[in-house]
Amino acid sequence: MVDYATILAGFGDAFTPFNLMFVLFGVLLGQFVGAVPGIGPIMAMAIAIPFTFGLDPLPAIAFLVGVNKGGLVGGAVPAILMNTPGTPDAAATALDGHPLAKQGKPLKATKMALFSSVTGDLFSDIVLITVSAPLAIMALKMGPIEVVALMIFAFSILAGLIGNSLIKGIIAAALGLLVASVGQDPEHYTPRLIFGYWDLFDGLPLPSVAIGMLAISEILRRMSLAHGNVKSGIITDGSQTPEDRRVSWAEYWACRYTMLRGATIGTILGALPGIGSTAAAFMSYAMTKAGSKDPTSFGKGNLQGIAASESANSAVVGANLIPLLTLGIPGSVGAALIISAFMIHGMQPGPLLFEQQGRLVYGLFGAMLMANFVNLWVGQLGLRFWTKVVSAPESIIFSAALLLCIVGVSMATSGLFGVAIMLIFAIVGYLMSTFGYSLVIFIIAFFLGPRFEKSIAQSLALTNGDLTQMLKSPVAVALLVLSVVSFVYFLRKNAQAAALETKM
């Protein structure tokens, strides 16, 4: 489907000094914001997307890939130094990273996190580059009927895996779909639920909804927690021996199997929608500890613990793009943001992407590989500096982030109407997370909603309104059976969890 000339041209497009500069900017920004507790790469990407509008697609996407990858490395810094993970997936890193820092070896801990993060990330990128094109060929054989079945399957998995309650997961997905139905309907193009606001005719702007739900609602939550308690910086000990400041080749090599296991777990979990890097990090950590000859050393500053969690959580990032590029289904919030950036820059994720914009896809792969090496290089030089970043006061960070969100969304939506929508969804997002509803499911459902409805309309047209015709497609039947199985499985799992809570 994709010839070698396209692949080579794509990689050639990526490996230019101009794109390298944007990857470098992205990695620098990602590591910087990742090191700030409470910001993290997702929020950084949400804020950064509108600022890439003026750029060509490849440098813009290269920049965002850099932000995402850099954020994972930066997220380990506050986890290790302050036991305050910058990102949730770095929480497992803190288990051994923070004790090692307390032993006077903060740089050794952060460097081990950097090396294992880059190793895991590179592994999953290679898997992504290898498997995504063949998977896209298979996906191309799917028609609207199979797409509807696939989306039902994706929703059944998402609802069960992400929320702590299946009912709440379904509510979050339904709300996302309902909000997605605002604007013109996909078949007749008549206005729907716009309440007289013609600005809504093209639907609710994705940057407003995504930034409001993911960035502003989180900033509001953290501002209320920080109220009257501005955190002061931490002081790192400067009197460390050279051995305590670096990771030797022997120490790195001793962790090779741990990193390979972590990268494999992260890649497999990352390819499934909705599981996320936090689960991968903790699973890898638990398996490494269980398989260790000295499990009691874990939690006390064991380098294997850091390698296990960082290689796994970083491997999720590349693998997250497998369902996104091949099927057009984002597997995580980060992937949902990347998909919105793709669309802003004229890319339509899905199986046709490889056929229609193969060169750009391989340019993206090239940028991802480049970002790994830049991440390693910037991390080596910047870790000393990022350890100072964690001491920046939250008051500055929150006010600056809010102003950047306002400016970014106003640029993305050409006015303050989009900013007003952003604020509304910030409040909705805050209330949803306060009451225990998954924002991830909401955003993914919001994103998939129009395509889901269009596929249903196309399926109905193809089958003359007789949806039992779906049963003639073996792929659709298999996916629907899998949906029922996962639905029943999560219902039983929730019932067992509820019974356990009642006993306690």
Binding site: I167, E187, H227, L403, F435
Partner: protein
């Protein structure tokens, strides 16, 4: 927070979604979705099905709540305060522009969080808006709100 409060949190949101679903199905969708003849999928069909799912799941949540705990009321009220501040800032921005309102908004946010150090207050209220102004208008050549 006691057990009664824990249960009531899910019941409150369950009642909200039950009422929202019913209101959408019976009131909002009929009034705000244009009826269309023909075609394979009526514009009202999907929103109607989703509204009923919302109402059904809201009802189920009222009957079978989880043990999810809600953050304390004081934090929610503080968030409401910050939200009002942002709404006021946005309104002022639509009247007077980003250049005049952003420093005041940044200062107010920092002050309410509890920042009292003059250097950081000055940096947040003057330095950050100036940096954003430079980035957007000079480096990117775009207009500020």
């Amino acid at each position: 927070m006691g057990g009664d409060h824990v249960v009531s949190a899910d019941r409150i949101s369950g009642i909200f979604f039950l009422l929202l679903g019913l209101a959408m199905y019976f009131v909002v969708n009929p009034a705000h979705i244009e009826a269309v003849e023909g075609g394979s999928l009526n514009p009202k069909t999907v929103p109607d099905i989703i509204s009923l799912i919302l109402a059904l799941c809201g009802g189920l949540l009222v009957l079978k709540p989880t043990t999810h705990q809600v953050a304390n009321l004081q934090n929610i009220l503080r968030t409401a305060g910050y939200s009002l501040l942002l709404v006021a800032g946005l309104f002022a921005m639509s009247r007077f522009g980003f250049e005049y309102v952003a420093p005041l908004l940044a200062f107010a946010i920092m002050w309410f969080i509890g920042e009292r150090r003059p250097f950081w207050l000055a940096f947040g209220a003057v330095g950050m808006p100036a940096l954003i102004w430079f980035l957007v208008t000079q480096a990117l050549g775009r207009a500020l709100p």
